[in-house]
Assembly symmetry: C2
Homo-oligomer: 132 residues x 2
Amino acid sequence: MTHGVPVLRIDLGSDRPAYEQIVGGLRALLVAGEFASGDRLPPVRQLAIDLGVHHNTVAESYRVLEQEGWLDLSRGRGAIVRRRPERKASPAAKQEFSRRLEELAAKAIADGLPRASVAEQLKALAGRLTET
Amino acid sequence: MTHGVPVLRIDLGSDRPAYEQIVGGLRALLVAGEFASGDRLPPVRQLAIDLGVHHNTVAESYRVLEQEGWLDLSRGRGAIVRRRPERKASPAAKQEFSRRLEELAAKAIADGLPRASVAEQLKALAGRLTET
DNA sequence: TCATAATGTATAGTGTCTATGTACAATAGA
DNA sequence: TCTATTGTACATAGACACTATACATTATGA
């Protein structure tokens, strides 16, 4: 009955689909190395309760991550984190990232964040990515 | 009959809604100061043809930008860029940006972009935002 | 072993969103 | 005024997001 700290939080009021927020949040944790290979993610029903959504919504998210190679899913056993082979970036992926990044920053500035503040966050993340 | 360079390009194959890509792309241009107050955006039908979508789809995008204060819309006259009062960033906006940024970077890395490359792009954008 | 709980999966239903087709209304320009 | 230009309104089709419910598989422990 481990009901420790929820792995994740989402914004139900957001116009962004819940399953997408879940995928994005978990992927970020996975990329950050927060889970070791063999670790088990919470059961869909448990995470669903924590987040306030239906368990099928969590299941859908898990399936996306399985598709991406992050998870092994099976009934009865759960969602197990997998060692995932590095993949080679497509040129499209790089361009997509570039575009989305620009749009995201523009949105933040449009929302009133000072450019300096946005730049600061960008540099901070860049630093976190290159350290070690 | 000015049919100069298209203002914008979108990816019709993307799972991202076309109108959202249009909004995001135009907003980025607006934030970058590519349009002066009083400039006219292309008529919905013209841009629709350039992008390969229905004119109502472009119209929906224009309406979003009008809602955000970027445009003045009216029949017969077109979509005119407006001077837009700066707004004060809500705490939620800052947190939202932070979260989205992390997820975006994680997605890029998951797609195979080297962390160094992602960091590079982040720093490059930060530089562009702070110059001048 | 066997019953039961735990866990992911399948399917159907409902409401919303996205994009389009078509017709309409307001403005500009000759 | 007449016509072209431009944004708008509304209906429709299809896809999508989320939920309810039942099912299949695996683990657990008596």
